[in-house]
Subunit: 222 residues, 2 copies
């Protein structure tokens, strides 16, 4: 149904970066930005910025640039950040706890509604970051997902448990998985998966440094 088919994935990745810079620009009370300024902040060319934005509509004003407030509103709309999206977290280990306390999610209008773990010694423990909540058993997964209409989940469990958790999440009706386990997961069609492997990330960096590191590059993303 969406004619949003032909949008390059890299363009989508840059969208969040543009938005982040726009927000700091707004905080400085600048009313407009040019594609030039945006491009330098994110590390791409100005033509790239205009092309990227053009995939989603015409937001600019010739001779002026982009009105910051307007563009922020449009981009939030496009990214879905204008409405609360509920998220659950599976895995209450070190990384899981760090993610719970991460304020960035809330700022982007994500609402962490529950935390799950398989470890019997953890189930029932209070979650300081989510007042009134407690760590839940995975048995509660289907119910919580249905009750809160949760579409997104973060996986922060050990590698050997990750695939099973992913399967349970998909079965419970979650549509998007953000996986931090160092493991390649298989998902069935209809489930979107994004993986971040911290060690792999560092390995990439080390390789690039070894190469000779000609120019500083914002390499992988975000």
């Amino acid at each position: 149904m969406a004619k949003s088919e032909g949008i390059p994935a890299p363009a989508v990745r840059r969208l969040s970066l543009y938005l982040r810079h726009l927000e700091t620009t707004q905080a400085r009370n600048h009313a407009t930005v040019s594609s030039r300024e945006l491009s330098r902040a994110v590390g791409v060319t100005d033509a790239q910025v205009r092309k990227d934005l053009a995939y989603f509509g015409q937001f600019g004003h010739p001779g002026i640039g982009y009105r910051v407030d307007e563009l922020i509103a449009r981009m939030r709309q496009i990214l879905g950040a204008d409405q609360v999206r509920r998220v659950i977290l599976v895995g209450a280990g070190n990384l899981g706890r760090a993610l719970m306390s991460y304020r960035g999610f809330r700022k982007k209008n994500f609402d962490l509604v529950a935390v799950f773990d398989n470890d019997a010694t953890k189930i029932g423990l209070p979650t300081p970051e989510l007042p009134g909540e407690r760590i839940r058993s995975l048995d509660d997964l289907p119910r919580i997902v249905a009750e809160h209409d949760v579409r997104l989940a973060v996986i922060a469990v050990p590698a050997q448990a990750a695939q099973a958790v992913a399967d349970q999440l998909a079965a419970a009706g979650v549509r998007g998985l953000l996986n931090f386990a160092p493991m390649i997961l298989q998902t069935r069609p209809g489930i979107t998966l994004s993986s971040v492997d911290l060690a792999v990330q560092l390995e990439q960096l080390a390789f690039q440094v070894n190469l000779g590191a000609e120019g500083a590059k914002i390499s992988v993303d975000s």
Copy 2:
């Protein structure tokens, strides 16, 4: 000096993924893998796998596939994982502590040699994950970097402190920065930067899910 110039960045990104699957294959006592199997595990085409590997040499055996042990050794060599690489961490907050206790780094032959923080109430505290070590002041940065020949650093500080930390790291002689602060950093040439923004990552995922999520894609990852 390296004719390793023309290697596509995406190919390099996939290298770590191939290696990870090879290691699990090895654990299963399989002696060889085909590009077909590797490709399915990582979510690319088999031609892609062969092209990627071919950038670095000829490792395959026609009719057989790739010998697992051999390929692992070569890939570790290529990625530099055959020798210990020393890393420091700046920022001992929630995320920093999670990173300290993350075993994946050690497994990939990274050695975390010191943890720094600017918070006077944290400096001097012991680091349970690094026996005998304590959280250090950033004043010690140049000395530690020089003494241990540290080339890589992980930044896990709040956004508003990140640019200053990056500058100090570069000045101290660190060559590669892995940044977790939700902030676009500027670095001078010769410094390689890779950024991971957890909130942006989730935002990307939410967007893809909203699109309609036609096919499961290992999207941005690692």
